[in-house]
């Protein structure tokens, strides 16, 4: 279902890098990556996952997961925990804690606090833990400044350093607009996946490109880095990966 895309991104292993950042260009939808990663993490026994829903509701991930062949509801409140910011905002309106900041905390500070609480409750019982955040640009929309988002990501990166077997995966939409933040956040980790549109326009058999950058060895003087580019097509029940040149226009 999603094995090929995870293999291409190097995220198919049990132990993932500490910090992974997904950049999504304008007019491109990279939500399928979150669903693919979520499915992979849930299938590992005793691996905990925390999903922070900022762009889509939990229901979206449930439905997308069903298409990919896994049922998130089975894992909910067991190995899967959810911070559904959107649902909370819908339920409480403008008096939601994410909009009001009742404790004097900013939105990002509140989020870090909740993530830490979840981590404190669940991490000790799990062999590994993954925090998925979809997506950071919503924080900008809700009034967070660049510094606050940067600090938020720094806090998350610190969490990943503090704990073994903890992975933080962030996604940022409109990366071409928030370029500075995007680059700064990507620098916090060793893996960066860029979801890019096709430069040559719209093609029925390919949706876009994935550019995977991985830091292999960050030495004192030089940084060894690998770059891989693949094409992807999101189908109804799977995601297909093509190498550049593999697919052509059929006449």
């Amino acid at each position: 279902m999603a094995a090929s895309v995870l293999l291409a991104c190097g995220l198919n292993e049990q132990k993932l890098p500490g910090f992974v950042h997904i950049s999504e260009e304008s007019n491109v939808d990279g939500s399928f990556l979150i669903s693919c990663i979520l499915g992979q993490r849930l299938r590992i026994s005793n691996a905990g996952t925390l999903l922070v829903c900022l762009q889509h509701h939990y229901q979206h991930y449930f439905n997308a997961g069903m298409r990919l062949g896994y049922n998130t509801n089975i894992f909910l409140d067991k190995t899967l925990n959810v911070i559904d910011v959107l649902s909370d905002m819908a339920r409480h309106g403008l008096s939601s804690k994410w909009l009001r900041s009742p404790d004097g905390l900013t939105l990002t500070e509140q989020l870090v606090k909740d993530i830490r609480n979840q981590l404190a409750n669940n991490f000790p019982n799990r062999s590994s833990y993954t925090i998925l955040i979809d997506n950071l640009s919503i924080l900008f929309n809700l009034g967070a400044s660049k510094q606050q988002v940067q600090q938020f990501c720094l806090d998350l990166a610190d969490l990943a350093k503090e704990h073994d077997n903890l992975t933080v995966i962030t996604k940022l939409s409109n990366s071409d607009i928030h370029q500075l933040t995007d680059n700064n956040v990507a620098k916090l980790g060793h893996v960066r996946i860029q979801v890019l549109r096709l430069k040559s326009g719209v093609f029925r058999e390919v949706d876009g490109r994935l550019l995977i950058e991985r830091v292999l060895d960050e030495g004192s003087y030089a940084c060894e880095q690998s770059r891989k580019e693949v094409l992807y097509k999101v189908n109804d029940r799977n995601v297909k990966i093509f190498n550049p040149g593999e697919i052509g226009v059929k006449v």
């Binding site: 959107l86 403008l94 640009s137 040559s200 326009g201 040149g245």
Partner: protein
Amino acid sequence: MTSFRKRTVQKPIRGTRTSPHTAQVITSSGNPSLDLILGGGLPIGSICLIEEDRFMTHAKVLVKYFLAEGVLSKQEIFLGSLDDLPAEMLRRLPKPLTDEEVEQEQRQEQEQPADKNGLRIAFRYSDLPLVNSEQATAKIGHHFNLMEHMEPMMLSYAQATIWDDNNKANIVVQEDDICNSTSSLEPTAAASGDEAAPVVQLEAQSTASNNNNNNNNNNNDNATTDSSTANNATSTAATTAASANESASATATASPPAAQPHFFYNPRYGRLLDYLQLLLNDESFEPGTNVQQKNLCRVCLTSLGSPLWYDEHFAEDLLKFLTILRASVRSCTAVCFITMPMHLIAKYETSLVPKIRQLVDYAIELESFAGSERETHPAFKEYSGLLHLHKMSAINTLAVHMPETTDLAFKLRRKKFVIEKLHLPPELQETSDQAAAADMMALPNCSANMPVNSNVSMDF
């Protein structure tokens, strides 16, 4: 204990059906050709953004279709606008066609001679079926006649709530409070003005509405009077208005705009959201519940982000508003239809356009030929404008439905608004040779999303 369980089949909501492609519950946008492009209709919980044409002619037509479909399907309607008179818009909804009229219309279209343009087809092609560039109309939604207005009797059954933010003087003063700028309006107007939420009125006479815009202090009283003096045609609607008014004042006391400082710099957004959430939090719009009176809410906001919404923090407020609106619409059985003057917003701040598009599920631009060189261009003489699909996102599913082609054009016929595949005439006249050829090269094609100065090779 037996493993037998009685299967409870949930009744579908009025005017919705399950899409065979995505297994999602969808509802018609009111226009069959638009439905087809969207994959059968709008999924429940989605937001469709129509980027207005310059003269706001065609976007309004689509809005009318959307609202008329809601009236006919007996769904709840929320219509909000600062630029237009919502009550007037509701009154001018198109008349639905009966099944016989639809059949007759289709028959007439089929009977049209193939050589109507004076073109002769080679005999070997004469037996082939005609290529119908108009997107095939599946049996979804209703058909409407734009030439005639919906009967008042039919409108009287509409469950509609409208918002036009009548206490505009209050807003100006509140804005001034926040922005600390001077105002020509007397501050006493704000002090004495009601703190109540915006007025909902369904019986809106155009003159009365204009007066209401000026007379701001007696909004609630006026609304009640207006509602009570409503004629028979809008009696049901008036009841809805009255109840909405009551509940609105309840909201205002619970969380008046003054109690929410600085979340929105422009308090209009807060008021609109308060109203909207009050409506959407109704039990009948809760997803998953097996309530007998389960219904769908059609939220329609026209000309959102127009200059009437401008202030110093316009961009910030608009993005916040859309984020919360998206959260609200996703959490209940509702669909949202927004029109925005994107060409003006792009001039205000270019980066705002992709940010807005990211917050909606469908972004459709209507590029009208009116007032442009293309209006008289022989290649486009059949069409009123081009339709650009900027965004179609997958909601509650993995893959997004893509239409057969993205090269689309629309035409506003006498009775209906039609979206067709863009077809160029077989041969342009010789008089418009080079200029036409140059323009033809600039036509939208599969590389419509390419950067203008991109000289890169193909990706595959």
